[in-house]
């Protein structure tokens, strides 16, 4: 009976995933990278389409260029904004490209189209604090050659981009070796705190003015143009032909000053991206799109349900798979070793990498996150099931056989109940790890408590970070407590006494 309920729940969950996907499949899906400007631009595109009665959803702050590009090519997204320099050097690396027409031709091979530029150029730049600039008389990037001791902090993307640090270093013959990768929004804090001396900037960053940073002149013309454009799947025009008209309306309408102002409104003055995009569209098109204003409680309910969905479904599936695997492994020591090695190797794959590996197979959003969490949950349960079963006292195993119980009944009546404390402990470990790892799901659009944490880091908003971090910690504790409770109620009192006397 209990098994039936469990299966019913799982089927229900799968249906929910399915229907959620079906819903987003009918609307145009617009993605954004995990920095403010990208979120504002995508919000603008979304609202502009919506106010023209086209169904559109914004999947916000999904990750970096490669992730968004993959998702677009795979058909997980229909539209996202990017920059010409990024497209040339990061996406189309290696192709000889000298004009926008060349870019369009190259993109067409992937079934992707590009709009004309939105108006502003958001190039890379290098910045230092005014005091560093004064102290070392730094004005140009080439001045850096004289100071090999300077510590650089670059975005992880800039660290290994085609147009990033490695070729910048070659271009300017820079000697610095203390170079590390870090999150762009945290880089400003590091610079201010003095733990790094120089960071990469986006020229439309609001923080440049806020921190009065000195931007070093690109005197050897290294950085290309990064004019903002919109990328969209060419087949979108077959589905919704009028989209082209509305996307074209955005050509050339955002100046550099306007973009810096909008970034500043969000990052420094605390407006939401939706509000900023809304007021910009009102000025330009005199339309007023509806935006959902969500209270903290609304968000908490959404993120909690998303998080619970990820954890419960992935853990439930892991239990159903891992316990049989553990039983199988316990029957034969060679099989057991193979199973343990395989799930052990899965465990060593860094979680972010595993999430990204899943995208070509499962797209973005809930499914890849569920599969990754499922894979991570296997090891503790498999290992504890296996060790729980193989570690049973010999006399107990012998007397179970000697009674004449068939193997299946021995397993059900004797071995599994006796291994239950170990199996339950494995499930508890998996569940607690799962609650923490699920916060990373936000990076690929699966939502959950990671979403406010991610946004909070981007906006340097501690209360928003806590809005994700505190519930995640509370949930981990609740999971821990509920398993402690389950141990007391589910396990045979005969086993608990034994545990007490041995502990």
């Amino acid at each position: 009976m209990r098994n039936l309920t469990l299966y019913a729940c799982l089927v229900l969950c799968f249906l929910l995933v399915d229907s959620a996907q079906a819903e987003s499949a009918s609307a145009i899906r617009i993605g954004s990278k995990k920095f403010t400007e990208s979120v504002i631009l995508s919000e603008m595109i979304t609202q502009h389409l919506q106010s023209n009665n086209i169904s559109a959803t914004h999947k916000d702050q999904l990750g970096g260029t490669r992730l968004l590009w993959k998702a677009l090519v795979q058909g997980e997204l229909d539209i996202y904004p990017d920059y010409t320099g990024t497209i040339i050097y990061e996406i189309l690396q290696g192709d000889a490209i000298s004009s926008d027409a060349d870019i369009k031709t190259a993109l067409a091979r992937y079934g992707v189209s590009m709009t004309d530029p939105l108006g502003f150029n958001n190039t890379y730049a290098l910045g230092v604090t005014p005091s560093t600039a004064r102290r070392l008389s730094l004005e140009k990037i080439s001045d850096l050659r004289q100071y090999p001791e300077l510590r650089f902090g670059f975005t992880n993307e800039f660290m290994d981009r085609e147009d990033g640090w490695p070729s910048l270093r070659g271009h300017y013959q820079l000697p610095q070796t203390a170079v590390r990768g870090l999150d762009h929004d945290l880089a400003y804090k590091g610079l201010e705190a003095g733990s790094i001396d120089l960071i990469d900037l986006y020229s439309t960053d609001a923080e440049i003015a806020y921190y009065q940073l000195s931007v070093l002149e690109d005197d050897a013309n290294y950085f290309p143009d990064y004019r903002a454009v919109i990328l969209y799947r060419t087949d979108l025009l077959d589905r919704v032909p009028e989209v082209q008209t509305y996307l074209t309306q955005l050509d050339g309408i955002i100046s550099e000053t306007e973009m810096i102002k909008m970034n500043s409104d969000v990052k420094l003055d605390g407006y939401s991206e939706a509000e900023v995009a809304q007021s910009f569209l009102k000025v330009k098109f005199n339309t007023l799109s509806e935006i959902k204003v969500s209270t903290r409680l609304d968000r908490l309910i959404t993120t909690t349900s998303e998080h619970l969905f990820l954890v419960c479904l992935s853990l439930g599936a892991a239990i159903l798979v891992a316990i049989p695997l553990g039983i199988w492994g316990a029957r034969n020591s060679t099989t057991g070793q193979v199973i343990l090695s395989v799930v052990g190797i899965i465990q060593t794959i860094p979680s972010l990498a595993l999430l990204v590996f899943m995208i070509p197979l499962l797209g973005i959003g809930g499914p890849p996150a569920l599969v990754a969490l499922f894979l991570y949950s296997l090891l503790p349960i498999v290992r504890n099931t296996l060790s729980g079963l193989t570690g049973l006292p010999v006399d107990v195993q012998e007397s179970a056989r000697a009674l004449g119980l068939p193997p299946a009944a021995q397993l059900r009546l004797i071995e599994l109940p006796l291994a239950a404390p170990s199996i339950l402990a494995g499930i508890k470990t998996s569940a607690v790890i799962n609650v923490g790892t699920a916060t990373l799901g936000a990076l690929i659009g699966a939502g959950g408590y990671g979403q406010p944490i991610l946004t909070g880091i981007r906006l340097d908003d501690t209360s928003l970070i806590l809005e994700g971090a505190i519930p995640a910690a509370v949930l981990a504790l609740l999971v821990q407590w509920s398993f402690d409770f389950a141990e007391r109620t589910l396990l045979s009192p005969g086993l608990q006494r034994k545990q007490e006397s041995t502990s």
Partner: protein
Amino acid sequence: MIQLRDISKSFNGNEVVHNLSLEIPQGKTVVLIGPSGCGKSTLLRLMIGLLWPEKGSISLFQKELSKSNVENLRQQVGFVLQDGGLFPHMTAVQNMRLMADYLQHDPKKIEDRIAELCELTHISSDLLKHYPGELSGGQVQRVALMRALMLDPQILFLDEPLGALDPLNRVSLQEEMKTIFSRLGKTVVLVTHDMGEAASLADLIVIMKDGYLLQYDTLSNLSAQPADPFVTEFINAQRKPWQQLEDQIK
């Protein structure tokens, strides 16, 4: 009742039972005895298919033991281990009822049988509500014996059932077992290394050494016509301390 024909058994290439044949008649209590490592416990496990011989055959109730009928045959015999082998996650009574419940016997009959066994082993039904961890060594062995007798088996196998008990408990349970065996008239195969226990319980004694059966006879015949000097040596070894004491008193 039990027949072993030309049995050999090895572990990791070491033969521990050599070409051994033995026939155990119905209703008798047969004790397998010998020094540690003589193969007596191995022989017991071979008889209920917990181990399988490389050579030879074993029959219970005139049926040759095979992997296909072993579970069925095990349900017709009882087995008691040195530490009882009770399942710690079940209460004493759950341990006893396990097989009867699994085989879906009539609950009323199960209750009656439990009451009968309580009376036989002098265990109160209240005590049966406890988990094995809460029982004394002697109580555990009594419950293990009750579990083994639950389905009223024709044969009872016991592997050093008194080995883990203190001397006082040992003597009293030994006396009780003697009464129980004679009351029930079952075929009993008991492994021990204690000659006193063998002398008290056995109708027939099997003396083993290094995997060989040295002699299979009554105690008086073992004493009067030993087949091997070791037989006399083994019997006398355990008598010696007492004899010396008696000589001193005289």
